[in-house]
Symmetry: C2
Subunit: 402 residues, 2 copies
Amino acid sequence: MVGHRVSFAGGTSRGVVLDLIRTRGPISRVALAELTGLTQATMSTVVRQLLDEGLILETGRGESTGGKPPVMVDIDPYSRFAVGVQLGRESITYVAIDLSGAIVGRTRTPGVGSTEPAEMVGRLAAEIDRTLAGLDIAKRSVLGVGVVAPGPLDLAHGAILRSPHLSAWSNVPIRDMLSTALGLPVLLDNDATAAAIGDFWSGRLDGVTAHATVYMGTGIGAGILIDGIVFRGASSNAGELGQVLAAADDGGPVVLEDVAAPSAVVERARSTASCARWGLTGLDEFDDFRRIALAAAHGDAEAGALIEFSAGHLAAGVLTLANLFDLDSITLAGPGFGVAGPTYVTAISRRLETDLFARMRHGVRVRLSPDVANAAAIGGAALVMQHELAPRTMGLSSLVAR
Amino acid sequence: MVGHRVSFAGGTSRGVVLDLIRTRGPISRVALAELTGLTQATMSTVVRQLLDEGLILETGRGESTGGKPPVMVDIDPYSRFAVGVQLGRESITYVAIDLSGAIVGRTRTPGVGSTEPAEMVGRLAAEIDRTLAGLDIAKRSVLGVGVVAPGPLDLAHGAILRSPHLSAWSNVPIRDMLSTALGLPVLLDNDATAAAIGDFWSGRLDGVTAHATVYMGTGIGAGILIDGIVFRGASSNAGELGQVLAAADDGGPVVLEDVAAPSAVVERARSTASCARWGLTGLDEFDDFRRIALAAAHGDAEAGALIEFSAGHLAAGVLTLANLFDLDSITLAGPGFGVAGPTYVTAISRRLETDLFARMRHGVRVRLSPDVANAAAIGGAALVMQHELAPRTMGLSSLVAR
DNA sequence: GGATCTTTCTTAGGCTGCTTTATTAAGCAT
DNA sequence: ATGCTTAATAAAGCAGCCTAAGAAAGATCC
């Protein structure tokens, strides 16, 4: 590494260093220099800047290795906060996280329903302000708000393109509206991508190269990260795992979403005689799905078969995803994994162990999100953290106009 | 773009500018500055450097738009060359390309067969030297040699990991051996990735964000490019399209390669009564496959059905690939598309038009490689060009040790 | 307990690739 | 010819990295 320049595009080194301190801290300047390839002198100034900004703290001395013991630095978790909002049909989840990615507060309000966008934005802003006040978080230490919605979005304009349950929101510039209402930066992204960034920001993906967070909500999506950078594809629609082809009962081709998603499981359950036993209401697909999963967990064989059916198909889809992206890490998140999560983890792990193309070369770590229900909201907040503190994009196209 | 610094990591701007001149040239310095976001002053010095290196030429005046007419610059195609070598079982293809990516020479020798690696390296070096001499190309204008092989490779050590037909080559450091024998830089990569880079270098992917070159040889693979950068995944095994799950006749799950690859088509053909009519030899799968494809092209319904069967399955696999990566461009290359290429293009286009998730937002350009048989070898040479003249890698991990 | 060694961290000065600003060059319009 | 517009270069400055050198703080040896 002598004589050759190490350069992170566009002042990214600050963000890389912050990432390392977050995931590996407490850590010394020397260790950071070794990890990044930057010189100790450069690291000294980068760390100085982070200290001046109040993002990190000197936490004490490390072990001496025969000379001066190093001064360790670590994240100051309470120096900055971010808010994540998940727009759902039945409910809206608000989450505040600190710089380490840990939840410091959570609220839930009734869903969007048929509320007009303009009014809803006002309510969102009020609820966010209230939540922050209740947590005693000064607004100037809040980096921004990340709004998470399902379905195809128009990221360029910060709007929802079309969503089954939020049809009135089509092409409404919700991002900018909320930003002016709040006086804070606002980002919009989809649930799977956000959940993936949440996994990354929490430090759980240290050492991972190619990761996917499989998000099962109304649909099934995957947020894909390469070295912690979101993979978006040509139109930000990458990772549409629900659209992978699956084998239907009758041999005909179907899309994964139609056989493995919670709604599909519930629908299959209803054509069953045992339907009544599980107390399905037909009102809330997630609630019904949870009842089936609970029955399965309590040993109900028929319910177990329904879940296994879904898990088997999802495992096949994830196998394809893992083969095509050559993944080395997968996280499962979203309400669909609320009760039956472990069953899905097992099914996917098994399938990958036997059928992954690269299984001789490396394994794939499959894990359940530590907070499946709030993963997307947490991720929304993490998205803001990453955007404000450690911005990074993939490729060069952003720099070539047209 | 005022006041804010535009930076391409690690001196990449030279490469970006060269890419633009190659694909959009002849072009003026001012136009290049606008496209890259760099200032005219910077562009002046970057272009000066490229002129000094002899990579580009001033080709004359452009149209005045009310003031001084711009001086146009363009690639000097014959200033540099690169060699691509495709290691095949039956034959080895050698290709020399110029800086524009055009073929300037091609040779074919008998395949590797059971030749010992050490001896084979000597033969390769001799044949490359001979080819270059025959084309009157000075060795100092040759940037290097790109060797292309099928199957899983160990890119870090420049060796073939395991290959059905090249078993004696396992873990032989062919890259370094050939490099010392030739006194030129040598790169090793797989056929699909190389073919994709070849497409990019030729300028055919101008304006494309997410591209895949589907390569059908013995197996089926995809080389994936994001903004012209190879997507490799955790262990350089990304894009294993042949491993995507497909629906078998009996409803059971099979892998795409087993139903759509040429060998699979030939095998199905042999269980047919019409087998004899097509004159299948059973010696060379590609030759047999070509016979079937030719029969299909001449209106043989049964042969046509076999090809359509393969194309239909491949189209399903490509649909999954396109959905997961959100592609906007696909090229088909490799010997498998030799005769029946157009049939495959049609099948894939149709499928994407009807079933692509993002079809309302953007189309996917599906095209046949202009030289299906030599695409991998050409790509090998292009790989060297890109590596030597416009190096680029994805993500930041390369800069963070361990 | 002091001298020396090792390791950590900072300072100083320099290079590179970019920026901004200013100047020269070369055409069009009147 | 005179000015106006666009193209290209020149000059000076800044930012992010580097190398080199030194200061700080403990470990080790006698």
